[in-house]
C-alpha cells in the first residue's frame, strides 16, 4: 500500500483542477482513500489524512467522518498528532455532537502534561469550544493553572476561565481566589488576559464589581507606566506601548467607575492625560482615544473632562479617515441625550456626513441628525433631511420618512409648514412611508382645520400626475372624500385655488379604484371617499350612486362589502346619509401610535356625552327613569349598557367603517321591550365614567330653537371641561299633536368656521301628545369663538304626508359659545 499522498501534494493537485467538477472528482477520490485508511486504523498516516481532510473541509466538502479520528490523534503521544488532532476537533466538532465529550479525558490529561505546549493546546481548545459539560468537568484544572507561575500557561488559563464563566456562570466564584495577584504580573500577556477575566467577572456580578473596585489605583498605575515608559520594542505599535492592554484597562476602568464617584475621581487624571497626550496620527492612537472617550462619557467624570471628550469626537468627525468618522458618529449617538448641547455644536459637521458615500456613516448621521432637531433648528434641519430623503438608498427611506414625520409633529413652526413637509415626504418617498403613518397623517390634517382647503388642493394635484405611491394615494383619497367640497369651490387661501369640477375629482378617484397599482386598502379609501362626496357634491350624486352600485359585485370582498353597505345607505337609509357622512370632527389629541386610539377616542366621547346629568326641570323623568331601572333590575343608579363602540381593530380606513357600523350601535336607550315613556336617555346609555362635561346646573340657559305645527325642538347646552372650543348641544324634539311624527330626521348646518358632529338620534318617532321626545346630541367645534348660528332642516312623516322645514337658529345664549 503506497503511503497516502502528502498534504501539500494534495493541495497542489487540487489547485490544478480547472473546473468545479474536476475538483470534486479529485476530492472524492482522495476521500475514498482516506476513508479506507481510517478503516484500517492506520496510526502512521492518520495525522496526514486528517490534515488533508481539514483542507478539503475548508473547500466546503463534508468531513464528519474524520471526527473520531481527531479524537484518536488527540489521544496520541506524538506532538504532531496532538497538534492536528486538536485543530481538527476545533474545526469539525462542537458541543452539539455527543462525541465531543470523549475529548474531556484527553484534555484533562493534557492539561497536566509535562510539556507546556501540550498543556497550551488543551487550554486553547477548551477555551475556544469547550461545552458546558466539559467546562464543568475541567474547571478545577483550569483554576489550578490560573495560579501557576508559568506565564505562558497562566495567560491561557485566564482566557479559558473566561470561557468557562461564559458557558457556566455559576462557576465564576471558584476563580475568585486565583485573581488575587493577577495584576502583579509583569508579563503583558498575563496582564492583558487578567484584565479580560476581571472585566468578565465585574460585568456579570455586582458583588464582584464592588469587590474589585479596590483595584482601580493599581490599574491606574499600570496604565500610567504604559504611557510614561520608554520605547519597548516587544510591545510597541507606532510609538505606543501595548495599545491592546491600554484599551482593556480603560474598558475595565469604565466598568469600575460607572456610578461610583470615588472610583471616577481616582481615574480622572489618567483619563485626562491619555486624552491629551495620545498621538493621533495613526489608527492605533485613535483607538485608544476612542476607548478613553467612551470611558469618560460613561463614568461620573467632571464636566471639563466630558467637554474634552466631546471635542475629541468633534475632531474625529473632521478626520479624513472614514473609520474615525464612523466611530465618532456612533459615540455621539450614544451621548446625544446626556450631553445634548455639546453635541449640538457639531451639528453642521454631522449634517455634512449625510452626504458621505459610506452607508454606515450615512445611517448614523441620519439618526444623529434626528436626535439633534429642536425648535430652533427645525427648518434648516428638515431641509437637509428632506434632501437626504430624496437621494438616499431605499433601505433608509422608511426610517427617514418616519423620523421626519415625528420631528415635524414635535417642532413644526407653523401648520402650513407642517402640511408642506408632510406633502414633500409623501411625494418624494411616498411608497416607503410606513403603513401606520397614514392614519397619523389623516389625524394631523383633520386637526389643521384652517389648512383643509390648501391640503386637499395640494394632495389632489399630487396624485393627478401619479397615483402609484400607496400611502400618498390613501391620504389624498381620504382628504378628497372629506374636503372635496372645498376643492371644487376653490376656497384655497394659501395658494392660487385651482379650478376643478366634481367630475374631474371623481375621475381621479375612479382611476385609483380601477388601477392595477392600487392596493386593496387603497381602493377601499377611494371608494369610501367617493361615497362621502355624495353629501358634499351636488351635481354628481347619480354618478356616485352608479360607481357604488358597480362595486357591489366586486370580487374584492372588502370593496364589495363597502359598496353593498353604501348602496343600502342610498336606498334604505338615505335620511341618515348626511349625518353619517358628515365632516369628521377634530380628533382628541392622541399619541402617534395609530388608528386604535383614534377610534377609541371617538367611541369614548359618545357615551360620555350621553352620560350627562339631567336638567333640573327633568327631576320627574329622573325618578321615572329610576323606576324603570328598578324594573330592569338595575341596582346601580347609572347602569352600564354596552353600547359604546370599543376599539375595533382598525384596518386602514376602518375608522370610517366604524362610523357606518354605528348604525347598529345607536346607543339607543329605547330597548324594544321598554314602554315608550319619556326616558332621559343619558342615564340609561351612559357609561359610569367620569363626566367630561360641566354640570348643566352651572347654568347655560336652554332655548327653544324651533316651534311650529306642533313640533318643538329645545336645545340644552354644555361646555367641555377639556376643550373650551367644544359646545355640546342636546336637542329634544317633542310633538304636541294628536298623531305621531315618524321618520323624523334632524339635520343641522353651521357656518364655515365651525365644525359639527351629529350623533345618532334616540329614535325616529316623536310620539304624540308630548308623551315622549327624540333626543340627539350635536357637538360643535368653535375654535374661533364666533357667535353660534345654525340652520336646521327637519323632515318627518305626519298624518300621512311628508313634511319638511328649514329654519335658522339665532338665539343661542352667549354662554354657549363665548
Amino acid at each position: 500500500m503506497p503511503a497516502p499522498i502528502r498534504l501539500r501534494e494534495l493541495i497542489r493537485t487540487i489547485r490544478t483542477a480547472r473546473t468545479q467538477a474536476e475538483e470534486r472528482e479529485m476530492i472524492q477520490k482522495e476521500c475514498a482513500a482516506i476513508r479506507s485508511s481510517f478503516r484500517e486504523e492506520d496510526n502512521t498516516y492518520r495525522c496526514r489524512n486528517v490534515a488533508k481532510l481539514l483542507y478539503m473541509h475548508m473547500l466546503g466538502y463534508p468531513a464528519h467522518f474524520g471526527q473520531l479520528e481527531c479524537l484518536k490523534l488527540i489521544a496520541s503521544q506524538k506532538f504532531t498528532d496532538k497538534r492536528i488532532g486538536y485543530l481538527g476537533a476545533m474545526l469539525l466538532l462542537d458541543e452539539r455532537q455527543d462525541v465531543h465529550l470523549l475529548m474531556t479525558n484527553c484534555i484533562k490529561n493534557d492539561l497536566n502534561h509535562s510539556t507546556q505546549y501540550v498543556q497550551g493546546l488543551a487550554l486553547c481548545t477548551l477555551g475556544c469550544m469547550g461545552s458546558s459539560e466539559m467546562c464543568r468537568d475541567l474547571a478545577g484544572e483550569v483554576e489550578k493553572l490560573l495560579k501557576t507561575s508559568n506565564s505562558y500557561l497562566r495567560k491561557k488559563a485566564a482566557l479559558c476561565a473566561v470561557h468557562v464563566i461564559r458557558k457556566v456562570p455559576e462557576l465564576m466564584e471558584m476563580f475568585l481566589p486565583a485573581t488575587k495577584n493577577l495584576l502583579n504580573e509583569k508579563n503583558h500577556g498575563v496582564l492583558h488576559t487578567s484584565v479580560v477575566l476581571l472585566t468578565e467577572m465585574c460585568e456579570r456580578s455586582p458583588d464582584m464589581l464592588a469587590h474589585f473596585r479596590k483595584l482601580v489605583p493599581q490599574l491606574v498605575r499600570i496604565l500610567k507606566n504604559l504611557i510614561m515608559s520608554g520605547y519597548s520594542p516587544e510591545h510597541d505599535v507606532s510609538g505606543i506601548s501595548d495599545p491592546f492592554l491600554q484599551v482593556r484597562i480603560l474598558r475595565l476602568l469604565r466598568i469600575l467607575g460607572r456610578n461610583d464617584d470615588d472610583s471616577s475621581e481616582a481615574m480622572n487624571d489618567i483619563l485626562a492625560q491619555v486624552a491629551t497626550n495620545t498621538e493621533t496620527s495613526k489608527n492605533v492612537g485613535n483607538a485608544i482615544l476612542y476607548e478613553t472617550v467612551l470611558t469618560i462619557m460613561d463614568i461620573k467624570s467632571e464636566s471639563g473632562l466630558r467637554v474634552l471628550a466631546i471635542n475629541i469626537l468633534g475632531r474625529f468627525l473632521l478626520n479624513n479617515d472614514k473609520n474615525i468618522r464612523y466611530v465618532a458618529l456612533t459615540s455621539l449617538l450614544k451621548t446625544v441625550q446626556t450631553d445634548h448641547n455639546a453635541v449640538q455644536r457639531h451639528r453642521s459637521t454631522i449634517v455634512d456626513c449625510l452626504k458621505d458615500l459610506d452607508v454606515s456613516i450615512k445611517r448614523r448621521a441620519m439618526e444623529l441628525s434626528f436626535a439633534l432637531v429642536n425648535g430652533n433648528n427645525v427648518r434648516g434641519m428638515m431641509k437637509e433631511l428632506l434632501y437626504f430623503l430624496d437621494s438616499c438608498e431605499p433601505e433608509f427611506k422608511a426610517d427617514c420618512a418616519s423620523g421626519i414625520f415625528l420631528a415635524a409633529e414635535k417642532y413644526a413652526p407653523s401648520k402650513r409648514w407642517h402640511i408642506d413637509t408632510i406633502m414633500r415626504v409623501l411625494t418624494t418617498a411616498g411608497s416607503y412611508v410606513r403603513d401606520d403613518a397614514v392614519p397619523n397623517l389623516i389625524q394631523l390634517i383633520t386637526n389643521s382645520v384652517e389648512m383643509h382647503a390648501y391640503t386637499v388642493q395640494r394632495l389632489y394635484k399630487a396624485i393627478l400626475g401619479d397615483y402609484s405611491q400607496q400611502p400618498l394615494v390613501q391620504v389624498a383619497s381620504w382628504c378628497i372624500g372629506e374636503y372635496g367640497d372645498l376643492l371644487v369651490s376653490g376656497q384655497c387661501e394659501e395658494e392660487e385655488p385651482i379650478q376643478v369640477t366634481e367630475d374631474e375629482v371623481l375621475d381621479i378617484l375612479e382611476s385609483v379604484l380601477i388601477s392595477n397599482m392600487s392596493a386593496s386598502v387603497t381602493r377601499g379609501y377611494a371608494l369610501t371617499a367617493i361615497m362621502k362626496l355624495s353629501t358634499r357634491f351636488t351635481c354628481t350624486v347619480n354618478r356616485i350612486k352608479k360607481v357604488v352600485s358597480i362595486y357591489g359585485s366586486s370580487i374584492d370582498v372588502e370593496l364589495q362589502q363597502r359598496a353593498v353597505e353604501y348602496n343600502a345607505l342610498f336606498k334604505k337609509y338615505d335620511h341618515m346619509r348626511p349625518a353619517l357622512l358628515e365632516r369628521m370632527p377634530v380628533m382628541e389629541k392622541v399619541t402617534t401610535n395609530g388608528p386604535a386610539e383614534i377610534v377609541q377616542t371617538n367611541g369614548e366621547t359618545e357615551p360620555a356625552v350621553l352620560e350627562t346629568k339631567p336638567p333640573p326641570s327633568g327631576l320627574q323623568p329622573a325618578s321615572q327613569a329610576n323606576d324603570l331601572l328598578d324594573l330592569l333590575g338595575g341596582s346601580d343608579i347609572t347602569p352600564v349598557i354596552p353600547t359604546a363602540p370599543t376599539s375595533k381593530p382598525a384596518s386602514a380606513g376602518g375608522e370610517l367603517l366604524d362610523l357606518l357600523g354605528d348604525l347598529n350601535l345607536t346607543g339607543s336607550p329605547v330597548s324594544a321591550p321598554a314602554p315608550q315613556i319619556a326616558q332621559p336617555p343619558f342615564l340609561l346609555d351612559g357609561l359610569p365614567s367620569q363626566p367630561l362635561f360641566n354640570d348643566i346646573s352651572a347654568g347655560i340657559p336652554s332655548i327653544t330653537a324651533y316651534s311650529k305645527n306642533g313640533l318643538k325642538i329645545d336645545f340644552t347646552f354644555e361646555r367641555s371641561n377639556t376643550n373650551p372650543s367644544v359646545t355640546v348641544i342636546t336637542i329634544q324634539a317633542s310633538n304636541s299633536t294628536e298623531l305621531d311624527m315618524t321618520d323624523f330626521v334632524f339635520q343641522a348646518a353651521v357656518p364655515k368656521t365651525f365644525q359639527l358632529q351629529l350623533l345618532s338620534p334616540s329614535s325616529s318617532v316623536i310620539p304624540a301628545f308630548n308623551s315622549g321626545t327624540i333626543t340627539q346630541v350635536i357637538k360643535v367645534l368653535n375654535p374661533q369663538k364666533q357667535q353660534l348660528r345654525m340652520r336646521i332642516k327637519l323632515t318627518y312623516n305626519h298624518k300621512g304626508s311628508a313634511m319638511q322645514d328649514l329654519a335658522e337658529v339665532n338665539n343661542f345664549p352667549p354662554q354657549s359659545w363665548q
Partner: protein, 161 residues
Amino acid sequence: STICQLAEIHFILLFSRQGKLRLQKWYTTLPDKEKKKIIREIVQIILSRNQKTSSFVDWKDLKLVYKRYASLYFCCAIEDQDNELLTLEVVHRYVELLDRYFGNVCELDIIFNFEKAYFILDEFIIGGEVQETSKRSAVKAIEDSDMLQETVEEYMNKPAF
C-alpha cells in the same frame, strides 16, 4: 448597562478576492450549514464594498471589521459595542505575526500552510480574546512548538497510544 457577551470576536474569516475561503475560526457554536450561509453572505457583502467606504459593516447584531492585505481579505465579526478601531489593530497584528513567521507572507503561504496559520492564530487569540500582545512571544511559541514536532523517524517510532 453592559450586555454579557459570548465573545469579543465571534468569528474570523480569511478569503481571497475571488471569494475562496482560506481560513475560518469560529468562537461561537453554529451548525455547519449556518456557517456556510454566513460565509457566503459576508463574502458577498464585503467583496461588493467599494474603496470609498469605511472598514466597518453593520451586520445583524454584530459589526464586521475587515481589511484587505494584498489579495486576502481579513474579516472579524465583533460585538456591536466593541472598539472597532482596536479590532483593526488586532487584524493588523495577526498579519504581522504571519509575516514574522513566514517571512514576507503572501496568500500562497496561507494556502499551503493553512494549519500553521491556525496555530499562529491560536497563539494570538483564545475564545475570541487576545491572549498575547508581544509579537515576539507569540511567534516564539509557534517556533518552539514546531521544534517539538517529531522528525519522520521519531514520528514512526513513537508509539501512538
